[in-house]
């Protein structure tokens, strides 16, 4: 056979005549991406991801089909070629309908593989559920109790019955059952050592993820006992401290994590010293400074978080605070209100300057506080606090809502002449908290520690994580921050730059913008509503600090698991479109427009055909006709309306389960096995 000479990416190549550019490039170690190409079938030449440029003729050629010809000068990797491919991908993504990842996982700050642990829980495999949860959440017992459940708010189940799957309870049960039995695989200790200042969730998570990679750590805690906000900020009735103790014991069991209490930065600890003694230092001191009311006499009020801290130090037994006013509308305010209710028979009031709708506290906390007898005074602003005899007198103003402010919430404005006074024995200002950054550490305009966006590094070998970086936030966010700092340190220790790979997530959108017709159901979703959380008696609630809620039973979890509609893509682990899009940095939102034919067919017991994901490459059509000789699939319509379907949209025959060649060949999740792998 005669030979031809051509140049690919500057490389002179001699190749046999009659080969495609793709073949020649491949034989010479030059990789060109493909999606619609499959050696078993005739060419489809449809997707154009393999496009290359022949600079000799100025032509753009699909490498999968264009024959290599003598004298060609092919470019496969120039910015221009990459840009062309990126556009191909962005066009395909612009009509791609699906969810690469489930919204629960996306909205979880720690990006735990929620759908996977929920499925394991549903199937009764609770140890497996725990293992999956712990990949990202090292404090499943605590978080299983106190998490504000970002995942459930975005859960697609809401589309069907306005109630997300009770996801957090899967963590809680699986941890309650197996936490102490399960020990994760850890790499051997490398000898590297990190000092972590603060044993709250941020510091603990950092220690955990460092330990998994073989890096040991010493956690320094200024308080007498470890746990930070978990121990001194979250009341006992939400997170019993014996549970926390169990959870913390595990860290010591992992080997290589040491927790040293009663050591405070600026006291026995010197940052410069630590910097030298350890390979790296993580500042995870939290956000413990109560904000004042900024009114005359504010010093007469207790700071919310400090009041809780005192209570915690006292083993959740305190003096009767008498009639109490808690100023503020956040979760700390609710913790104060509900704790006060447990300590006194006198009225407890929550005073908030906007309305219930604007309260930052979790609705469930507000509801449970109300059940426990709290009074709410909305649209009320304290302006002055003074002591009169043995009472505190709070001067207030009535407010009304005006125009939205920067946060998007309507700004409260005073109603003229509406001044009034209320009396109380105790006033607690739970307005907010701020960070008290260690001396010499750079802070941002909110007073939080300033860190590098990717590596969480403050300076040199000092890193930071948790509330002291983000400002007061949730336990799960602190855990996520701790993990990021650990990743930053691991890269730093290796002398590498901390790079997060470019990831895409195609989404159908938030559930509030969707109806059930917009979703794809692999199986009929369970019809039952959300399992009701059982609580201890109200009487017990208001008189003790006993844990308010019960852990779900295994039956309840199995039942609740059926409500999950498993919205993530069946092909999320082997999607050619996603892989290519990520390597070419394609933006799924680049071209907005009609998505075209959605619609799917899940009547076959094991195979789903999802048109919304199809890239119309036709590989399945040709596999079925040219390889299998079955002729079950074909193109219908044309142009933008083109789709691949069966005759009269009938379900695929059951015998397709035995073959599955089209499923295996599909570059995306348009034809896929229904059963997902974990």
């Amino acid at each position: 056979m005669s030979k031809i000479k051509l140049n690919i990416d500057g490389k002179e190549i001699v190749a046999p005549q009659g080969q495609t550019i793709l073949q020649v490039a491949g034989d010479n170690g030059i990789e060109i991406p493909t999606m619609c190409q499959d050696d078993r079938i005739s060419r489809t030449t449809s997707c154009f991801i393999c496009v290359v440029k022949d600079t000799k003729s100025g032509q753009w050629l699909p490498a999968c089909s264009a024959q290599a010809q003598d004298g060609m000068e092919i470019e496969t990797k120039t910015p221009e070629v990459n840009d062309m491919r990126k556009t191909v991908l962005e066009l395909l993504l612009s009509e791609h309908t699906g969810d690469c990842e489930a919204p629960c996982t996306i909205s979880c700050p720690a990006h735990a593989r929620v759908e996977e642990y929920v499925r394991a829980g549903r199937d009764g495999e609770l140890l497996k559920a725990l293992k999956i949860a712990k990949e990202r959440i090292p404090l499943p017992m605590s978080i299983g109790r106190v998490c504000p459940r970002f995942c459930e708010k975005d859960c697609r189940r809401n589309v069907l019955d306005n109630a997300g799957v009770a996801i957090n309870d899967f963590k809680r049960l699986s941890a309650d059952l197996y936490y102490e039995d399960y020990m994760e695989n850890r790499k051997d200790l490398t000898g590297e050592k990190v000092a972590i200042i603060g044993s709250g969730p941020g510091g603990l998570a950092a220690a955990y993820f460092l330990r998994l990679e073989g890096v040991s750590s010493t956690i320094f805690e200024k308080m007498p006992e470890p746990g930070g906000m978990l121990r001194y900020g979250i009341p006992e009735y939400r997170l019993p401290k014996n549970i926390l103790d169990k959870e913390l014991a595990h860290f010591e069991k992992m080997g290589g994590i040491e927790i040293v209490c009663n050591k405070e930065l600026g006291g026995e600890l010197d940052l410069n010293q630590l910097k030298k003694e350890y390979d790296a230092v993580i500042i995870a001191v939290g956000s413990w400074q109560s904000s004042g009311m900024r009114t005359e006499g504010e010093e007469l009020a207790a700071g919310g978080i400090n009041w809780l801290e005192d209570l915690a130090r006292n083993g959740w037994q305190g003096e009767d605070p008498g009639e109490t006013i808690v100023v503020g509308g956040g979760n700390t305010a609710m913790d104060c209100v509900r704790s006060a209710l447990r300590l006194t028979k006198k009225p407890v009031h929550c005073m908030y300057r906007r309305t219930e709708k604007e309260m930052p506290a979790e609705q469930i906390e507000i509801d449970e506080a109300r059940e426990e007898g709290a009074n709410f005074n909305f649209l009320t602003q304290p302006i002055k606090l003074r002591r009169e005899d043995d009472k505190l007198v709070l001067e207030c103003l009535r407010m009304e809502l005006g125009e939205p402010d920067a946060s998007g919430r309507r700004r409260p404005v005073p109603v003229e002449g509406s001044e009034f006074e209320v009396k109380a024995d105790t006033v607690i200002a739970a307005i907010g908290q701020s960070t008290l950054a260690p001396e010499g550490i750079n802070t941002n305009k909110w007073g939080d520690v300033e860190v590098g966006e990717k590596d969480c590094r403050v300076t040199e070998n000092i890193f930071a994580a948790g509330d002291c970086v983000s400002g007061p936030a949730t336990v799960v966010e602190a855990v996520a921050g701790g993990r990021r700092a650990a990743i930053g340190i691991l890269a730093y220790l290796k002398g590498e730059e901390c790079l997060f790979p470019y990831k895409i997530n195609v989404s159908r959108g938030h559930w509030q913008s969707l109806s059930s017709e917009d979703l794809t159901f692999l199986f009929e979703p369970g019809e039952k509503g959300r399992v009701k959380q059982r609580l201890i008696d109200l009487d017990e609630r208001v008189n003790t600090f006993n844990e308010v809620s019960y852990t779900f039973t295994e039956d309840e979890i199995a039942e609740e698991g059926k409500r999950c509609i498993e919205c993530s893509c069946t092909a999320k682990k082997d999607c050619n479109l996603k892989d290519c899009s990520e390597s070419y940095h394609a933006d799924p939102e680049k071209f907005l427009g009609e998505k075209g034919h959605a619609g799917y067919n899940s009547q076959h017991p094991h195979i789903i055909m999802d048109n919304g994901k199809c890239i119309k490459c036709g590989v399945c059509v040709k596999i079925c006709s040219e390889v299998v000789n079955e002729y079950l699939l074909g193109f219908k319509n044309r142009g933008f309306e083109t789709k691949v379907e069966t005759a009269f949209d009938r379900p695929l025959p059951e015998y397709c389960t035995e073959c599955g060649k089209c499923v295996e060949a599909c570059p995306v999740g348009a034809l896929d096995w229904k059963k997902k792998e974990d």
Partner: protein
């Protein structure tokens, strides 16, 4: 003495009412003398009737099926005489349509009486090599749009050693506003057929197809009659072997004008193109060597053979020889089909032949939906393959749409692109999704919601669609947008930045306004408003108004107009 009464019965004539005229004529005069002829290309004057007498021929225009008028006409009265625009007569050069509208399309005798099939006879004497030489000498280039030299294409097919060679006549004229091929097939089916038979002779192809739009029933009918007539007298016997000729009707897919798509369609498949090479001359219909030429290309062949390639080569420019048919439409006085020599300027076609008022024309769109627009300042450009391409347009098959100064170029581009988007076969990513995204983008702009970024995306995506599509449809689809972006960038900008459509065409950017000074309060507008948005006080509620123009149409005083959104209201407020 009246010899014959010829009624123009091509599609345009029939649509204008020629059928009724024909019926009535047959009633009131000697039925045998009334004959149906094709189209002379003056569509604006249809129905046209020509009366042949001993003392010459008389043409009548806009003939109505009214006895009185017909009788007057038959008495050769002066009224309603057809007076074609003299400038047109001067500029046109009727080489291939000289018989159109003059002879009975389905009369083999009449065609033969006018040198018909002499080319074929001559070709038989010449032999295949000399035919191809002659066609090469003529420098005839494909009239379907691509402009590939016909002689070379034939030589490819002729060189194949295969007894099942196929020759196809592409008559899938799908451009909206183009009807060159239809006219040829309806009016001169034998001429097309003769060209094909010469092609068969030159290439040894014994299987001939005419792939015709199903929307052209008259063309299909006339072709089938012509084929039958030719076969009956053995005109299809070449080298002692019969050539098989079949008319195949398309089923509505513009993309089937692309040769590989056309072949798939002929094979009974979905009309999706495939990657070339292999070219059809290597691997065509059912895998056999196949050549495809356009109707107009074939219609040129008898003349070339009869008169010689040298003679043909004298008309036209260096790279573009002969004449070209154009379907003129849009904002001009004389729409219709014209045949002009290559090299004539656009201006001559638009102003002299089309009768458009100088100053009233903004641009022409040449080459159909996949062509590009050329602005009036370039109207002295000669019409030939290369000049048009260099201006970002193309010869295409011959659609020539005149765009008046009162049209919005963004909307015009959107219209063309929407057409190609609908006609995309859906195979290549760039064309399938890219054109759709461009249309949506243009819809945002004409809808008053465009951004400057939308314009950038149009440019970038348009370029990439051209580069990354397999067939001519995708490779040219963005042309109308890219060329208007090039020449009318300010119109795009005005839509995007000021929400202003100078042509008052984009609904979202206009209000409808009743000028009270002109209004005579006749209630016509109120009665005709489909959404009842005009008050008793003759004020239009522009929030309800759908900009349907019903009121504008019925207003006897032209007191109602479209104005820039908010425009007149602002003026009113100031006074």
């Amino acid at each position: 003495m009246i010899k014959r009464v010829k009624v123009g019965m091509a599609s345009c004539g029939i649509a204008a009412g020629a059928g009724e005229v024909l019926e009535l004529l047959k009633e009131i005069t000697d039925e045998d003398k009334v004959v149906e002829v094709g189209c002379i290309g003056h569509c604006y004057a249809e129905p046209l009737v020509e009366i042949e007498t001993d003392s010459g021929n008389y043409m009548y225009e806009k003939v109505q099926p009214e006895k009185e008028m017909l009788e007057q006409m038959l008495s050769l009265a002066d009224s309603s005489r057809f007076q074609p625009n003299p400038k047109r007569i001067d500029k046109e050069e009727l080489l291939i349509t000289s018989l159109a509208g003059k002879i009975e399309p389905t009369s083999l005798e009449e065609y033969r009486a006018n040198e018909g099939y002499e080319g074929l006879e001559k070709a038989k004497r010449m032999g295949k090599d000399k035919i191809i030489e002659e066609v090469k000498t003529s420098k005839l280039r494909g009239r379907g749009g691509g402009g590939f030299p016909t002689g070379i294409k034939w030589s490819f097919l002729a060189s194949k050693d295969n007894e099942n060679k196929v020759l196809i006549c592409n008559a899938d004229e799908g451009d909206p506003g183009a009807f060159m091929d239809r006219t040829l097939m309806e009016s001169l089916p034998h001429q097309v057929l003769e060209g094909m038979l010469i092609g068969a002779l030159a290439t040894d192809a014994y299987k001939l197809f005419i792939y015709c739009r199903a929307e052209y029933p008259l063309a299909v009918r006339n072709l089938n009659i012509a084929i039958q007539q030719a076969v009956e007298v053995g005109l299809n016997i070449i080298g002692g072997k019969p050539v098989e000729i079949k008319v195949k009707e398309g089923a509505g897919a513009f993309v089937c004008g692309e040769e590989t798509a056309l072949i798939h369609s002929l094979e009974g498949k979905r009309g999706t193109p495939r990657y070339r090479p292999p070219y059809p001359t290597d691997h065509g219909f059912l895998g056999y060597p196949t050549a495809i030429n356009n109707v107009e290309t074939f219609a040129n062949i008898p003349l070339i053979i009869r008169e010689g390639g040298d003679s043909f080569e004298k008309t036209g420019t260096d790279n573009s020889k002969g004449t070209k048919l154009f379907a003129l439409a849009g904002d001009l006085n004389y729409s219709g089909l014209v045949e002009v020599p290559m090299g004539i300027t656009i201006g001559e076609v638009v102003y002299d032949i089309g009768g458009a008022e100088p100053g009233s024309v903004k641009a022409v769109q040449i080459g159909g939906p996949s062509g590009g627009c050329i602005t009036a300042e370039y109207f002295d450009t000669p019409i030939d393959y290369d000049s048009l391409t260099s201006l970002g347009a193309m010869m295409g098959s011959g659609g020539l749409i005149v765009v008046g100064t009162n049209r919005c170029m963004v909307e015009t581009a959107r219209y063309f692109l929407e057409f190609t988007t609908r006609e995309s076969c859906g195979k290549c990513t760039f064309c399938r999704i890219g054109t759709k995204r461009m249309v949506e983008n243009l819809e945002r702009i004409t809808g008053g919601e465009g951004t400057p970024e939308d314009i950038n995306v149009l440019k970038d995506l348009g370029k990439k669609i051209k580069q990354g599509s397999l067939c001519g449809l995708g490779q040219t689809a963005p042309n109308p947008v890219l060329s208007t972006l090039n020449y009318f960038y300010n119109e795009y900008l005005a839509h995007v930045e000021e929400g202003y459509c100078a042509a008052m065409e984009c609904k979202a950017l206009v209000d409808v306004f009743i000028n009270k000074e002109e209004c005579i309060e006749c209630k016509q507008c109120i009665k005709n408003c489909p959404v009842d948005c005009i008050s008793e006080g003759y004020v239009i509620d522009n929030n309800l108004c759908t900009r349907c123009n019903s009121c504008i149409e019925v207003c006897p005083k032209d007191a109602i107009t479209r104005v820039a959104k908010g425009g007149v209201v602002r003026v009113e407020n100031q006074t």
